[in-house]
């Protein structure tokens, strides 16, 4: 594995993070977000030496009450003094590059609780909507002394599928309103869940939704040994939360008992993330001033002057991509 020597300062950072120093961890995550190239050996070391806590992803259509659910879930876990970390991802403005990261407000109840670590992250320019830095940030958090780590996104389109690439346990939250469950089946979101929650279970239609989910999942069964629990909850009153915690613990144990499945899962995730990162890298090369962009402009000119066609040009550009101007 990595035998890169760390500087004294970096070694100190590594030790601090492993010992649970929140500020050092936060600073490291900032460096990851800033694409600081010197963090790579640190991240590797943390990945090797850290606790490796599993990550739970919370996903579902907008309005399902994910934030409220997470807020209540944290409360439930804290009653047993379990330490929790949350990575909350919000979309960046595609026009200005800025963002308003407002998920914390929905978890304000735990704002002063030193056993709860919430990090807000903007998706930045990532194609998939998920922050490119999320993976490495989760590695940092997973190396520390947290009992549970959650990743949460606002829940718009692509984000939902990408969360699978970062979570070991995926919780899908729907409500009985407006046929969310049916839509989720159609959108292909349903296959990705390990645990299904029907929130606002005290409103009408919950039985129908539970039944619809059971039917849909039954059809897809046979692919895993894990029987996805389908639970009704009421996030605002914390009804059903104990069962949720039990299901989470149960899935975590399952992954522990089936390391080959966990490995396969992580391999798939890494594949997908690597693909996304590669795309992002390419996109960047095509946009920023440099040899690759010059090529693009050159070929665009050739096409307009009818000296070439787009397909030829694209292949030619790809061939030149071993130009390293990073």
């Amino acid at each position: 594995m990595t035998s890169l020597k760390l500087s004294e300062a970096e070694q100190a950072t590594l030790d601090a993070v492993l010992a649970g120093d929140r500020r050092q961890a936060a600073r490291l995550i900032s460096r990851i977000e800033a694409s600081d190239p010197t963090v790579a050996p640190l991240i590797s070391a943390l990945g090797e030496r850290g606790r490796g806590t599993a990550v739970v992803g919370i996903t579902g259509p907008p309005g399902a009450g994910k934030s409220t659910l997470l807020n209540t879930l944290i409360g439930q876990l804290r009653m047993s003094s379990l330490r929790v970390a949350v990575l909350a991802i919000d979309p960046s403005s595609p026009f200005t590059g800025g963002a308003i990261l407002g998920d914390r407000v929905r978890m304000a109840r735990h704002g002063a609780d030193q056993g709860v670590f919430i990090r807000s992250m903007a998706s930045r320019a990532n194609l998939g909507g998920m922050a490119a830095a999320a993976g490495d940030a989760l590695t940092v958090l997973a190396a520390m002394d947290f009992d549970w780590i959650f990743i949460e996104t606002v829940g718009v389109g692509q984000n939902e599928v990408e969360i699978v690439n970062h979570a070991d346990t995926v919780v899908v939250v729907v409500t009985p309103h407006s046929g969310d469950a049916v839509q989720a089946v159609k959108a292909g979101v349903l296959e990705i869940g390990d645990i299904y929650l029907v929130n606002k279970a005290d409103t009408g239609g919950v039985e129908r939704t539970l039944a619809a989910l059971r039917e849909a999942l039954h059809r897809g069964r046979g692919q895993h040994q894990w029987q996805q629990p389908i639970l009704g909850v009421q996030a605002t009153t914390a009804d059903g939360l104990e069962a949720v915690v039990a299901a989470l613990a149960s899935h975590r144990d399952y992954l522990g008992d089936h390391p080959e499945e966990l490995f396969e899962r992580r391999r798939r995730q890494t594949h997908a993330r690597l693909k996304a990162l590669t795309f992002a890298e390419l996109q960047q090369r095509l946009d920023k001033p440099g040899a690759v962009r010059d090529l693009l402009e050159h070929w665009a000119g050739e096409i307009v002057e009818k000296r070439s066609d787009p397909r030829t040009a694209a292949v030619a550009i790809l061939k030149c991509l071993d130009i390293t101007d990073a």
């Binding site: 407000v105 109840r109 735990h110 002063a112 605002t236 009153t237 914390a238």
Partner: protein, 551 residues
């Protein structure tokens, strides 16, 4: 100092009064003039009626101000109960007919003045009133069944007053006064889900009105509290839409409890704002009355004209008064007050010119009162009801505001009001409104004199209101001592009854009042209701309940 040519040119430019904007303050585009080409703007019988006649567009009463002058009110409230009491007596001496008391931010949020993180805010922005005993000090010698005291507050104030009246052996059916039971407005106005969860807040509003109608029918209820909705970021159109959404849900829930609409609506008064666009505000008041009347009649089947006739309590807009060159605000507040009068409101509070700075000084308060008196006695603003009725412009604006408000109301009700609040949709609209407003200011598409144009070279720092905090210290010490001296067994009993009532989904007001009567504090009472509803005792998560709850 010699004035150069450039200076003179700039001064001349400044002196020209130009038209910077053709849209109303809230953004409705207007025409250079309005005339009969608009087409038929109204059917007099159907759309206007005479003042005091359905649909009450022209006014709530036939004689309007000839029979009933608008109530001159001044808001008082700061420091300890004794401090505010002094303020009340000063206001009465100056010619105020109605007492209107505001409580401090802690009391507004149902938090006690000894809160470890927030004690510094006690007595700021209003009177600190954490227990019935404090209320008794404030109102010593004032009989609340004879004198109308209006409370500019929502949380816990009504149970406090009732508890005091009961402790004094007063007949509740003769209880006078008013408050603003609208919790959803608080939720949207910055109290947020932490302090006022939408669902619990709405339920508490409904329960308060239910209790009030049954036990103290003479008590007026200011609902919706649309003044703060406006200040938060609503236009006249969304004031009507959002206010009616709150009313529709609240009245609907009360009817579902078996209370007929004709017992509900007459107790309600709309708390409104009067902002700087003179014509838009007048049109808004008129459109509002018409929408209310038609809603009560057509949606809720009201038969009593008093249900359909909306009374409006107005406060001129604080938000519209800038910090810079505050004397300009005398002019602004005058125009806004005039708009309210011509709009036919039943009571108007004129903002003091120093409102943006801090608690009003005595001088500012006096000037606000004189403004109203000049408008009444010299300008003749009250002489004739709805003087702008029939104006092509005003009728056109009235129609337009009504139509857009109803469209927005339909949109809100399609989502569901509580859901739209919980999901942040309504707050999002308000944030966007404020954002666009600021952008227009930044780009000079909207001029506020003294702020982004015609700004003075020197900004005089505002005078600050100060008062001797000695009484406040004594009040806090007394509060702590009183907590120690209470009958703790009796208190625990009453608190637990409240807890059980809340858990059982009963109307919590009787139990809240019973607890307050034995000097439970507002923080203890509301904290208990919160715990019963699965919420943390303290919205700031700094303290936990001192009680053990059973059942």
């Amino acid at each position: 100092m010699k004035k150069t040519d450039a200076n003179v040119r700039t001064l001349l430019e400044d002196a020209t009064v130009g038209l910077s904007r053709t849209a109303t303050w809230s953004g409705l585009e207007t025409d250079p003039f309005y005339g009969p080409e608009q087409g038929e703007l109204f059917d007099y019988e159907k759309d206007l009626g005479n003042p005091g006649q359905y649909p009450f567009t022209r006014g709530a009463y036939p004689q309007m101000y000839r029979s009933r002058m608008w109530t001159l009110r001044n808001i008082v409230g700061y420091g300890a109960p004794e401090d505010t009491r002094e303020g009340i007596e000063n206001a009465l001496r100056m010619g105020t007919a109605g007492i209107n008391v505001v409580v401090d931010t802690l009391s507004q949020e149902a938090i006690d003045p000894d809160h470890p993180a927030l004690w510094a805010d006690a007595g700021q922005e209003g009177c600190s009133l954490p227990t019935v005993s404090d209320l008794e000090i404030l109102l010593k010698g004032i009989d609340v069944t004879e004198t109308d005291v209006a409370w500019h507050s929502t949380m816990m104030i009504y149970p406090l007053v009732v508890a005091m009246a009961k402790r004094q052996g007063k007949d509740l059916s003769r209880l006078q006064g008013s408050h603003m039971p609208d919790h959803l407005q608080l939720r949207l106005g910055g109290w947020g889900e932490a302090i006022v969860p939408a669902e619990l807040g709405h339920r508490t509003t409904v329960e308060c009105i239910e209790y009030c109608i049954e036990h103290s029918p003479k008590w007026a209820l200011g609902c919706p509290q649309a003044y703060d909705l406006r200040e938060r970021g609503a236009s006249p159109i969304s004031e009507i839409a959002l206010g009616m959404a709150i009313i529709n849900l609240t009245v609907g829930d009360l009817i579902a409890k078996g209370i007929p609409v004709d017992k509900i609506a007459p107790s309600l008064a709309w708390v409104s704002s009067s902002d700087i666009d003179f014509f838009e505000e007048i049109a808004k008041f008129r459109a509002l009355r018409r929408v209310w009347a038609r809603t009560m009649k057509e949606r809720f089947g009201a038969e009593d004209p008093r249900s359909m006739r909306l009374r409006i309590a107005c406060h001129t807009s604080g938000r519209s008064l800038p910090y810079q060159q505050p004397l300009n605000n005398l002019c602004r507040a005058t125009v806004q007050t005039l708009a309210a009068i011509l709009g036919g409101v039943q009571s108007v509070e004129t903002c003091t010119y120093d409102e943006p700075i801090s608690i009003p000084t005595e001088e500012a308060r006096e000037l606000a009162t004189r403004t109203q008196q000049i408008l009444a006695h010299e300008v003749g603003a009250a002489r004739t009801a709805d003087p702008l009725g029939g104006s092509y412009y005003v009728e056109s604006l009235t129609n337009r505001i009504e139509a857009e408000a109803l469209a927005l109301l339909a949109k809100i009700e399609e989502i569901g009001l509580i859901r739209a609040i919980e999901e942040g949709t309504i707050e999002g609209w308000m944030d966007e409104y404020n954002y666009r407003f600021q952008q227009e200011l930044d780009h000079q598409q909207r001029i506020v004199v003294g702020v982004n144009k015609f700004a003075p070279d020197v900004i005089e720092p505002p005078k600050r209101f100060s008062y001797d905090t000695a009484r406040m210290q004594a009040h806090l010490a007394r509060f702590k001592a009183r907590k120690q001296a209470r009958d703790s067994r009796l208190l625990e009993e009453r608190i637990n009854s409240l807890y059980r009532a809340a858990r059982a989904g009963q109307n919590t007001h009787p139990a809240m009042i019973d607890a307050l009567m034995v000097d439970a504090t507002i923080g203890e009472v509301w904290g208990t209701v919160r715990v019963a509803n699965g919420l943390p005792y303290d919205p700031f998560n700094a303290i936990t309940s001192p009680f053990t709850y059973r059942g």
